[in-house]
């Protein structure tokens, strides 16, 4: 029987690739000004450029593989992913005239929940700070090299951090429930 987490990750990956090639451009991305309600559902599948798409596919693949290795509960994985994806929506309100695209906040959410599951082997006191350090590493690099351009990466890092924190919260409530 095919693992359900593998099926979910494969379905998301197929939709991402299909949207990338079938509907190029930003028509399905979410805008804080003049937005179309439909884009609330579609922005996670939109990617600008091949590297954007490949990095998210790679992240989803590694995170799903880790979750499968840990025999993680599929409902917790999916919930952490979607809560991570949709935390980007209320955050967008604080950025006037901004457009968001991609599902990396969801992948960071799923990663946080998966790392919580790995706790007996990999303590979260090590993995969580390391992940947060990696999340903000681009901004730190930008601050050192180009000053003001770090602001644009910092915006994305804030979204990723929010996705990671909500994923950790989902895993915490899921552990308490069981």
């Amino acid at each position: 029987m095919v693992n359900q987490i593998a099926l979910f990750a494969a379905a998301i990956a197929v939709i991402n690739v299909a949207v990338f090639f079938a509907i190029p451009g930003d028509s399905l991305a979410l805008r804080s000004v003049g937005y179309d309600p439909l884009t609330l559902l579609t922005f996670e599948f939109v990617h600008f450029g091949l590297s954007h798409l490949l990095e998210n596919l790679l992240g989803l693949l590694f995170t799903a593989a880790l979750a499968i290795e840990l025999d993680m509960d599929v409902r917790t994985f999916i919930l952490a992913y979607f809560v991570g994806v949709f935390i980007a929506v209320p955050l967008l309100i604080s950025f006037p005239a901004a457009t968001i695209a991609g599902n990396s906040t969801g992948i960071f959410g799923a990663l946080a929940a998966t790392l919580a599951r790995a706790k007996p082997m990999l303590p979260t006191r090590i993995t969580y700070p390391a992940a947060i350090l990696f999340i903000f590493s681009l901004t730190s690099y930008g601050l050192l090299t180009c000053g003001n351009c770090a602001l644009s990466t910092f915006r994305a890092d804030l979204f990723h951090f929010a996705g990671f924190v909500t994923g950790a919260a989902v895993s915490f409530t899921s552990v308490r429930r069981h």
Partner: protein, 49 residues
Amino acid sequence: MTDTVIILLEFGLGGAVISLISLLYVRREKAKLRRSVLRYEKIKRELGE
């Protein structure tokens, strides 16, 4: 016209590195655990005989 900021939600190499390292580490720990179980069962069999 208002300038629009595009925020790319990109997992990035940092995210890929942390998930890949975690995956490899967990696989290694599970392999170690499997070897320990096999060793334990072998010793148990030998003592039984």
